[in-house]
Amino acid sequence: MGKTSWYRLALIGAIAIVLLNTWFAARALHTLIAAQFWESHTLEVISQTETLIAQVRTAESAARGYVLTGMDGFAKQYATATNQIRQSTANLQRLTGDNTSQQVRISMLNTRIGAKLSALDAGLAVRRAQPQGMLDPELLGPVIQDTPDRMDSVQLTIHDIEAEEQGLLDSRTTDATSARRWVWGSFTLAFVLDFLLLVAAFEQLVRANRARERIEASSEEIAGLNRKLTQVNEELESRVEERTRELEASNQELEAFSYSVSHDLRAPLRTIDGFSLALEEDFGEKLDAQGKDYISRVRNGVQRMGTLIDALLQLSRVTRSDVQRERVDLSQLATLVFQEIQAGDREREVNWIAQPGVMAEADPRLIRIAFENLIGNAMKFTARTPGATLTFGSGPQDGKTVYFLRDNGAGFDMTYVDRLFTAFQRLHGEREFKGSGIGLATVSRIIRRHHGSIWAEGEPGKGATFFFTLTP
């Protein structure tokens, strides 16, 4: 789960807790208000019953007063009291509408009050019939006799009602108290929980802030590292530039060297050769056969040195020049090179077999030099082979295209195959076959510059085959 989802969940939880707290508090408050309402209701009922008792007593004493004195004041007081009693009982009935047992008691009370009042009314009627003088006690009997008992029965009922209400009051007070405790509890809980949430939120805020600061700090660190990296890179670049400059300088030196070799080493050779020839031509008649032989040896030596210098130059040039690949028809190029070499030695008859349409991505100038050396080599080593044949072709090997040049010439001993491509290493004596010992080194370097490889197979007297690839 992602961090954002966690935060969303926490927020929803916090809101739920706050809502639950509010609901609890509101419910407790509601319970408290209800309890208090019932408490005051009960108190009202009690006060109403007490009022009723007082009113009944008032009515009784007013009735007695009237019976004793016959004064109208008492009669009026009695009337008022009975009215009030009726009201009060109606009130009580209404107030206790929710309580069935109280309703039963109140209807009993009504009966008893009614009986009481009828007794009192009877007494009052006796007095009204005889406004003056003493009344016959016989007639008043029911009023007087009945009075304490009836009063008591009323009072008893009222007391019952009061006791019931008192019980209710007690339980409702307990309810209110517990409700009050609930309110306190829930509000305290709400406060504590909200406080905790607030603290948690604050903590989270502080943590987020700290995290941001940390991120800022680490981003600064990263920026620092980046700066350092850039600096290192710059240093590296400048070092590469420096090396490149050095390399360029050394390349230039090499080029200057090659240039000077090409000019300066050849110049004295030409002088030697020129004057040897002049000697032979101008003073030929003064020289015997041996003298002429010496001159020809001098000129041969010069010739070989000239070839050597040229081969060295070619090797260094191959090393210096860039490889610029393009699509080359190797068959055509090899055939062309063969024809050129053949043209320089028309007396020889050599068969040339080239597989047509062998294509490659290579530098045509470098490949031409390679062919010049390879084909030149093959021509040289087939010089004493009757029916000399050179074959050029290609074939797949390990997923790569391998090109080959085969001859049926002198061949070589495979024991020395390692020395074949090393400069100045020759497998045949100068007397057998002339050569610079640089040609195959040049070919090898050209192939390497194409990221290819070169190898050879041969057997003395049966010919040699040179294989090469032009891709890694």
Binding site: D264, L269, A278, V302
Partner: protein
Amino acid sequence: MILLVKDDPDHEALAIRALRKANVANEIQVAHDGAEALEYLNATATGAKPLPQLVLLDLKLPKVDGLEVLRSIRSADKTALLPVVVLTSSDEERDIVASYRLGVNSYIRKPVNFTDFAEATRQLGMYWLLLNQCPPTQ
């Protein structure tokens, strides 16, 4: 008249010998370095010296090199059309290209083998002095 620009006296002697052997009868004027060659050519501008029919120019020369001499020849009105043949031991591509860019008429690499060189010289003299139609001198 041929102007031969060459610093090596041995080669100078051999070149002259080869030209003579090839039956080139023209007068041969030798300049031993680039500066000397330019001096001579400047003298031809005033008419103090005759304009050569052919300049045989080596590239590697003391003081002022062959390519510079060639540039001067091509930039001066009087010598702009003069046939110039570079005769050098260098077969460096950059020398060949630079020479042709500067408007050389021919570029010949001197073979080490003197027989070949003599043959080349003979052909050179024959071609430039007999066969080739030179531009009219101004």
